[in-house]
């Protein structure tokens, strides 16, 4: 498996250049895909991620997807909608989806804003997300499937 792709330094002061959209690295880990979101994603980056990920899920026939938002500093209503759409589209492709890594401050701001990520499974971090997928998907051993 690839070693984790280098993340750009967490430099919150550099706005993204529109001509070079930030590609979110999507890694394969066993039957799962892991997308690690970087900070300061623009709207088009989010749309790009959604399309990329859905396409990959189909292509790789992944059983589960983890969307890691650990480094995301702000989750506003738009990001929330896109993530919800993403989760739904992944489910439509027959895969499980888990959002992991929402930080305390971000979770707090989200509920103040009234955002709930309803219908999406959330877990503390990558480790928990993988454990969840293993339980759900079970490497082939489903729940009475």
């Amino acid at each position: 498996m690839n070693s984790r792709a280098r993340r750009p330094p967490k430099n919150a002061m550099t706005p993204p250049d529109k001509s070079d959209p930030m590609h979110v690295p999507i890694l394969k880990q066993g039957p799962y895909l892991i997308a690690s979101i970087q900070s300061a994603l623009t709207d088009s980056d989010l749309f790009q991620l959604r399309d990329d990920l859905v396409e990959r899920v189909g292509r790789a026939r992944s059983r589960g997807v983890i969307i890691d938002v650990t480094v995301l500093e702000v989750m506003d209503s738009f990001a929330c909608r896109v993530l919800r759409d993403l989760v739904n589209m992944i489910k439509l492709r027959g895969a499980e989806a888990v959002i992991v890594g929402i930080q305390p401050e971000v979770a707090f701001a989200m509920v103040q804003l009234g955002l709930s990520l309803e219908g999406a499974v959330t877990a503390l971090d990558l480790e928990e997300g993988l454990a969840y997928l293993d339980r759900q998907v079970g490497g082939g051993r489903g729940r009475g499937r």
Partner: protein, 133 residues
Amino acid sequence: MADEVRVPIAREADIVAARQKGRALAAELGFSSCDQTLIATAISEVARNIVTYAQSGEISLSILDQGGPQGILTIARDRGPGIPDIKQALQDGYSTAGSLGLGLPGAKRMMDEFEIASEPGKGTTIRMKKWKR
């Protein structure tokens, strides 16, 4: 520390720029990490409204310091179509569920003071303040 920072809002990349500047200013003033996130998120919401509904506008950030605790004043201005029914826009449940959300009730909850003035056809100005605890 500059007295006022203005961020023109015309494209969605400006939303990120505005909220990052807001966070940076809050961090400089010593706001807690959580409050920094609240400020950045509220700025993100109002900036997004400008892009979505008014095409262009401006976010201005300034420091409030009158002898007591310090604070940040955010003013979001645009010359867009305006909000016909402000009361309704500020009602919970009206905006967040659908895709046409204005995010205003949420932004108001996250701030300590929140004022909105809007005239259909003329534009909208939102003033929000958050004080350091």
